[in-house]
Symmetry: C2
Subunit: 291 residues, 2 copies
DNA sequence: GCCGATATTGCCATATACGGAATAATCAAT
DNA sequence: ATTGATTATTCCGTATATGGCAATATCGGC
């Protein structure tokens, strides 16, 4: 189907009823236009228009071809316009995969605003902890706490979060309040893995505490819950425990120290994104910048 | 609309569900195919398919685009097939302009066969003596007794006719039977123009007779009629007067001499002819070859 | 008959697209 | 885990098409 483009040129020539005007409308040299139409005719094997310098007349074949072609070209234009809409205007369903804790803590509070901003958008959130396959599964976007190693994926930083140290008053009453990160190493530190190191800094001072506890779990929600139950010390972003702080279930400790900020990434499979995805990423970046 | 061709390629890729198979089906290198699809996506601004080396999956945009594109491409294929039909199979109406005398004498007897050969064809004959404008008027074909001077027109020889000399027995009884072309010059010779020369030859002998008469007319039918009425000598192809010879209204004179064969041309505006025109020209050439 | 408009053709420098091979990457099988 | 086969992509030299300009031819109106 090598002659589809020429078909569009032909339609333009017929509509303009002139090669030179069509060339102008198409913004191409009339020499090219003339040559292309001639080639089209040679390819088809039929003359499409009788031409004199003054007049253009469709041949019988040209009339038939024009009637069909103009519809085809018009439909193609509509198809591209529709895709253009997708680029310009968020529509359809936005499918996002992200960690459940990030979703509930950071994304959920923003959703009402974003959803009212684009009433046409629907949402599907997948909060399973697994790393979804952005290629095989129909996700527009994944939010990851670490940069993906695959070079094919596009990762944009949408937030930078840093953890701080928290514990329940009961726990502190029992084990005492540490005065320096070094003192963490003997304590019950609720970590994601059985062995971990918490990199802390205070001003220009840095300290890496090798920590651990009898409880390790890969769920922030669980760590938080255990902490409020007085099981140990947690190293979490403030936003995660904001409610607990307000309610007095947790208090900040070693508040001069904090973790190094780590990035949260919006990961996509390509840069050629529909508007819904682009707007969502931009929105998250904007709203989470302060974190 | 620079991306119509690529649209067809995209459809093929989706249908084949593979770049390499699509490339094979399209008979093009897969490098080109891959590049074109990538450019299409870049042009549109959206990724159309997620691809790994093993699997192809349509994006949401790709699905929408495919649904529309496949219809468009299919319609285009149909359009071209329809034109292909016009090239291969005579259909529609064949519009021919030709001299009335040629039409009645030579073409008419052949028409029944040609018409039964192609039942789908209709005919429109314009027998006005004027030279029709093949460009401005919807004629597929003109038959001319002389080669057109315009170099833009395509002329094919469909017949070669040579005239011979005939007269009515009454005329010969009155004026005598000429024994040599030189004797023509004093006689009543019914010509198209007031002044004419009849170029005759017999074997290797040639003679150009400057002839004329009191009657000149630009109609073969009229000349024939006048001849049968004994008004003079006519210089016409045998076929024109065949009936008169059979009926004894005319007899051949100086039958060793005949005119130089002159060509009859089928004239078209282009070589890119629909089947109906091509078949008609071929048919005439075939049937009139013996003349 | 002349003049302006217009399609076509030719030319050539340049840009673009192509084609083939190499590369990278994925998935299945062992 | 590793290998191997399959497949999309990338690279790069080359071929092709384009664009701009001018010349040509021709039409149609004055």
């Amino acid at each position: 189907m090598e002659l589809l483009n020429d078909m569009a040129l032909f339609v333009e020539v017929v509509k303009a009823n002139s090669f030179s005007r069509a060339a102008e409308a198409l913004d191409m040299p009339n020499s090219t236009l003339s040559r292309r139409i001639s080639l089209l005719e040679k390819e088809i094997g039929l003359r499409l228009l009788h031409r004199t310098t003054r007049r253009l007349e469709l041949t019988e074949a040209g009339q038939i071809y024009f009637e069909r072609s103009k519809r085809i070209v018009e439909e193609a234009r509509l198809a591209h316009e529709q895709l253009g809409e997708m680029v310009a205007q968020p529509t359809g369903t936005l499918r996002v995969s992200m960690p459940v804790d990030f979703a509930t803590t950071y994304v959920a509070p923003l959703l009402p605003r974003f959803a009212t901003l684009y009433p046409g958008l629907a949402f599907e959130f997948d909060l399973t902890p697994r790393n979804v396959d952005l290629v095989a599964e129909p996700f527009d976007l994944a939010i990851r706490m670490a940069k993906p190693e695959s070079p094919n994926l596009i990762a944009r930083v949408i937030a930078r979060v840093s953890a701080e140290l928290y514990a329940a008053p009961e726990y502190l009453a029992r084990d005492g309040i540490p005065a320096h990160p070094a003192e963490l190493e003997g304590r019950q530190c609720l970590t994601m893995h059985t062995l971990a190191s918490w990199a802390l800094y205070s001003g220009s001072e840095a300290f890496e505490a090798k920590v651990g506890s009898r409880f390790a779990c890969n769920s922030v929600a669980m760590i938080r819950r255990l902490t409020t139950l007085g099981m140990g010390i947690a190293f979490l972003p403030e936003r995660v425990v904001a409610e607990d702080l307000q309610a007095g279930r947790l208090v900040s400790i070693l508040s001069a120290w904090r973790g190094h900020p780590s990035s949260v990434y919006a990961v996509t499979e390509t840069r050629l994104l529909p508007a819904k995805t682009q707007r969502f990423i931009e929105f998250l970046q904007e709203e989470l910048r302060s974190e």
